[in-house]
Symmetry: C2
DNA sequence: CTGCACGTTGGAAGCGCTTGCAACTGTGAG
DNA sequence: CTCACAGTTGCAAGCGCTTCCAACGTGCAG
């Protein structure tokens, strides 16, 4: 395999100049640069990643820690991150820490700490105080997406606000019997958002003077199938049926719609359903939702990081609120007349 | 930051011995090993990834090239790969080459070739002859999943066979008016499987002496929403309606079921639907399918690679057929009586 | 007791680059 | 014409490890 030395010889330049020419750092005359590049191309030479990294201390690699690439939000973020990183010439090292604490621990310790990454993007991870300290201790830029990360920059949507907006949408349509499907308690350790969205819902209800009926507060694991099971309980059970369901994610909203159909309920005639996310399947189900551009959030995270890496080392930790977009489709409508509120 | 030298001093050993102790290669007495490990732990030291790689020529990093982590099969495979790799202490560098040929090209050239990875796993990529040559030229173990990769080891399921089995299942139930939803032509460049599965379908139909009606041969892009749109055409159009649909993937089967419901068709009473995959949502829709364990395929790919990396450099390129499992649920049944075949 | 094989250790030469430094070149100002 | 200065270039010292090699005990057979 050709080394930089071979390129230097072929180009009639020194190793140093070739290095500068190929890596784009430092001043090189246009002529030398061209020669170096040509020679490299002719030999099929590319700079060795590890040698470059070792010598320069830069990795051109960012670590992405996600709970699971298998779920909508995470894979969407990863796609955004991946595309942006690739364009910038960076590698993406994926840490999919889905299976329990043990693996997660080893990731933080062995992998990230092994100076392999220039920066890390943590997606929706609810980290312990100790874990956060560990992350910060490696003195690399960190940005969190979709979850709080004290001490690091974060990108997040206004979970509470959009939950309130979603609930308000239903209320303004005339609904008063509104159920809320929130994220499972089991997930609370990973995500704070179930709680945040729930708070937004409660606030909207309270503002409207509507009661929050405990039997209409259900939860699921953020998946279609989990929500489907929960919604069957809610809609097919013995309790009075709500006229609207606000699900904390699109997948859960879809699960709810599927359950509703099972019981012969028409959406939105008999039941309005609203979600949050901007999931691809929303169109198929005519789902009214609030679109958070997950890919966009991933892309933004990368841009932030790279800006920090290029510029001064210590950029101020900034908290960015990512904009969302209300998408009204056909899963929400005024409540059925026979159960419409009086006022 | 502490270096191996600091550890050596603290442990009262030479750098060489510490290196051997910490990396687990070579002979070190139990006593020395323990000392080295303790000293490293006390200093919070971990071997530098790049320095190790540079010196040893090993990366402990495998590249995974996928068309998109956003789709079911790919993200499932990646999860399997990721888990297995992490357990083995390897990094996973993700190359999500979804957006067009240009990026894909740069990945193969710059990234993989930069000696960053010890091996590569290519998922469902239909590579050009030149691209395959490039991959093979880096002389690293390669395994392909879900697609042919001449010259490399591959893991695949018997696409043609299971497609035939799926079709046969419908035929044995008494269906003769069977539609097939295959993968989009646009995807042919990436995946060969649409064609392979289609072939299996045709074979089963032919074997049963059944006609393949062109108007019942539809295609979609492997997504629920895409299949939904296609199925609406198929089921709501002016052509005679089939009594069963064999979709080449679960997501497409689900899209078909959704479309059927839109037209008031009951599944399986009015329409039987069968898919292929083992998608998580299958349960919700009662989908009869053939489960290919995608995570398992990913895990197997890694085990194969690692075996090759540890053992002799040149392992024989092996083609492994991964087992699948027929899962009968409630989306398939005998055809409706009024349209049942005569014989 | 001597010799040999084997397990263990340390010295030191790299792995293939990057970059500080100094030397060199050409430019425009003084 | 000289000098200061900015742009280029090459030399060589690392970056932090791995591993070849030789040296050094051991234990055991001869």
């Amino acid at each position: 395999m050709p080394g930089i030395k071979d390129v230097a010889e072929r180009a009639g330049l020194s190793i140093a100049t070739v290095s500068r020419a190929l890596s784009g750092k430092g001043n090189v005359s246009a002529r030398s640069r061209e020669r170096a590049q040509n020679a490299a191309a002719e030999l099929g030479f590319v700079l060795s990643y590890h040698a470059s990294s070792l010598a320069s201390g830069r990795n051109h690699n960012v670590g992405v820690v996600v709970p699971s690439v298998h779920r909508w939000f995470f894979s969407s973020v990863v796609e955004g991150v991946s595309a942006t990183l690739l364009d910038a010439g960076y590698d993406l090292t994926l840490y999919n820490v889905s299976e329990g604490q043990e693996r997660r621990h080893s990731v933080l310790n062995d992998f990230l700490l092994r100076k392999r990454v220039d920066a890390v993007i943590a997606v929706s991870l609810e980290l312990s105080e100790a874990e956060i300290q560990q992350l910060l201790a490696i003195h690399r830029p960190i940005v969190g997406i979709g979850g709080p990360l004290p001490g690091a920059s974060t990108i997040r949507i206004d979970d509470s606000g959009i939950a309130r907006a979603a609930a308000r949408h239903l209320i303004q349509l005339g609904h008063s019997k509104i159920a809320h499907m929130t994220g499972d308690a089991a997930y609370e350790q990973d995500f704070r958002l179930p709680g945040t969205r729930q708070a937004g819902f409660k606030k909207a209800m309270k503002d409207a003077g509507l009661a929050i009926r405990p039997e209409w507060q259900v939860s699921a694991d953020f998946t279609i199938q989990g929500a489907y099971a929960s919604a069957r309980q809610l809609l097919g059970g013995s309790v009075e049926r709500p006229t609207a369901v606000f699900a904390a994610s699109d997948e859960m909203a879809i699960g709810t719609i599927l359950a509703a159909r099972d019981f012969g309920l028409r959406v939105p005639d008999d039941l309005s359903v609203i979600g949050i996310d901007g999931h691809e399947l929303g169109g198929v189900f005519g789902l009214t939702t609030i679109d958070q551009d997950a890919r966009g959030q991933g892309a933004l995270a990368v841009r932030r990081l790279l800006a920090g890496l290029d510029g001064a080392g210590d950029t101020e930790a900034a908290d960015t609120e990512f904009p969302t977009r209300f998408v009204i489709r056909s899963s929400t409508a005024v409540p059925p007349v026979d159960t419409a509120p009086l006022h």
